[in-house]
Subunit: 379 residues, 2 copies
């Protein structure tokens, strides 16, 4: 629905939905090359497109997982495993670096892994900058630094679509021997948009990237791409061993089960691959550019209306703004009325303690008229 | 395919596959009550059937997750969180109890969570018994006991279908203040078979259970049921917080996202629910009993042939046997020939260092004639 703009909605293409039926009906086990070489080959083609957009080496690869939460966890487990391989002793506490603007799944992954999160202060736009990261590193004592294994950057925050300073962070990660993870679950899709590509400069330094086709690349749930610069490192961290699995593990083949925290898996990347193959990558580029244009127009439409005010110029396709004079209860009542009347699904969000409204535009069917209709309801 | 018997194959029903298309096409976000109350209601009905089969209290519940690996991890994270809530200090190392026959995902979960695995010696049939668990607990010193938070039992091992002694382990778990987790990913489906129900006695003591409908309950990938005795404990462990999520978290509703390590999710329990609703639970009972009968007949057919020998009488629907006089290379060559000729997909497995063959019968379309055809190829 073009006016369901809360959270990051899913807007799967027709071809991807149709192929999802094929995936279900064929009952392919997508975990191993032995059992589904064709599916894995196709999934890897789709991953290669993303690898190319990010500018990673051709040998980069990984697997499609169920969502950003599973992807971020799996990447960070590989990161910790890579760090452990280099150390003689377990540090007192493992720790990762992130900002408070990182997605909630980063804290969830840290909780699951029982590692600390060392917070880096974001700048006034909510970005992690190289200088803030450098300052934070300088503040840590020997023991704290010893436990650091990764820096988590965000390429398109969920709340505002803000992209961290990947270029200098990548440089700092390298000099400090830290794994650089890029959470592009929502925003990574904009790599395909030439108008925004430069914002991602530095992503080619990433050791791992998560990018969800079920968000802004028109795939059905649940489909998140997890990519590693050196897949072999992830394989050592994630391969499961068992008597009945050894015949698979002994082969020198690409088994998606080896690259994340999962074993049985649906060939969940196939609907995305089929949709890419059907419409072509140019159609993807155009559809994403279109949502970006609508987001720009939406920001202008907000600026044109005296009763609303932009929180921040949109970086990607999320437009956040306040309704002047409203209390949280006013936002809530309005949101419920919009949903009840079937006009729109827009939820109040909270940013730095302030209630606001947030439009996440990932559906190319959403037009500026849809947005204006919503804004007019706020008058 | 009725003769694809390696691993635990998937054999989805027609209704479940059809409904999987509906799930994909409707693009429902299955994470929250707000966004998909109907889907969550139906999923919870399907979970209730499983809760009833296990004899857990009616208030038990959880969510469908992508597979046994995600389910086991999520349950154990909830278990550790429950233990942490009761303690003042973090123990030196967290630890769980399991046998070496536990599924590989248990070790994988322990690795991700960075907790130790304290191994309990299985008996001669590969079961964890209450007495072995008691002995192991007695051997531990104060500090080791302090870190224990869960005992992981298996109700149907993947290699042989063996079920731990749930009754006495449940008693010991309670007296030692340990969370009892039951990994019934494969075997739990046999709860629906009256002929085997008694083997699961004691499962009603479980604090959490994982049971995969995509294995032996005729659902398409990926569909694993994760059930908690007290869902509120899991909710405190898994709910993700963020400005844009708070409008959901503030409501007193059942959000599947809160009960496992995931956020975005496909309504992956719906195809299973629809299939149950279409065919009825009696048809499920009958289909499972049929696979159990075929497994019994298969065991007799092995016993009738002089060149093969049963490893163990099957407990559930896995029939494991050796081909007398064969070396690992003979098994491998035979298995490859069977696949190449399209006769069957049966892989050699390894049990206690010995290569063997293993038939996992979860498809009601598999007949004893299919099995005999395979056995005859071994002559």
């Amino acid at each position: 629905h073009p006016r369901f703009l809360a959270f990051i909605p899913s807007a799967p293409s027709e071809a991807s939905v149709l192929f999802d039926l094929v995936v279900a009906a064929s009952s392919l086990y997508g975990g191993s090359w032995l059992e589904s070489a064709g599916a894995v080959y196709a999934e890897n083609q789709a991953l290669s497109w993303l690898v190319g957009l990010a500018g990673l080496p051709e040998a980069a690869g990984g697997a499609f997982v169920s969502g950003g939460t599973a992807g971020n966890l799996s990447a960070l487990v590989a990161a910790r495993s890579a760090a452990a391989e280099k150390r003689e002793h377990r540090p007192r506490r493992w720790a990762l670096l992130a900002t408070g603007r990182s997605h909630s799944s980063i804290q969830a992954a840290a909780d699951v892994m029982d590692v600390d999160v060392v917070l880096v202060e974001p700048d006034e736009h909510g970005r992690m900058t190289g200088s803030a990261l450098g300052r934070r590193l300088d503040e840590l004592d020997e023991e704290q630094r010893d436990g650091l294994f990764a820096v988590v950057t965000t390429a398109g925050t969920t709340n505002l679509g803000v992209i961290d300073d990947l270029e200098t962070i990548g440089f700092l990660a390298k000099t400090n021997d830290l794994w650089m993870h890029v959470d592009g679950a929502y925003g990574g899709a904009a790599l395909a948009a030439p108008s925004r590509r430069q914002l991602f400069n530095g992503i080619e330094h990433a050791d791992s990237i998560v990018l969800d086709p079920h968000k802004w690349l028109f795939a059905p749930f649940d489909c998140a791409a997890l990519i590693y610069r050196e897949p072999e490192v992830a394989r050592r961290a994630h391969t499961q061993h068992a008597g009945y699995l050894d015949p698979i593990n002994d082969r020198d083949e690409w088994n998606p089960s080896d690259y994340a925290h999962h074993l049985s898996r649906r060939a969940r990347g196939l609907p995305f691959w089929y949709s890419l193959a059907t419409y072509g990558t140019d159609a993807y580029r155009d559809a994403i550019e279109k949502t970006l244009r609508v987001a720009e127009e939406a920001a202008r439409a907000v600026a044109d209306r005296s009763y609303v005010e932009l929180l921040e110029e949109p970086t990607l396709s999320i437009v956040a703004f306040r309704r002047l004079g409203w209390q949280p209860a006013d936002y809530q009542a309005w949101s419920e009325r919009m949903l009840a009347e079937g006009i729109a699904f827009v939820l109040p969000s909270v940013f730095e303690g302030e209630t606001m409204l947030r439009l996440a535009i990932v559906n190319p069917a959403t037009t500026i008229e849809d947005i204006e209709l919503i804004l007019d309801q706020l008058a």
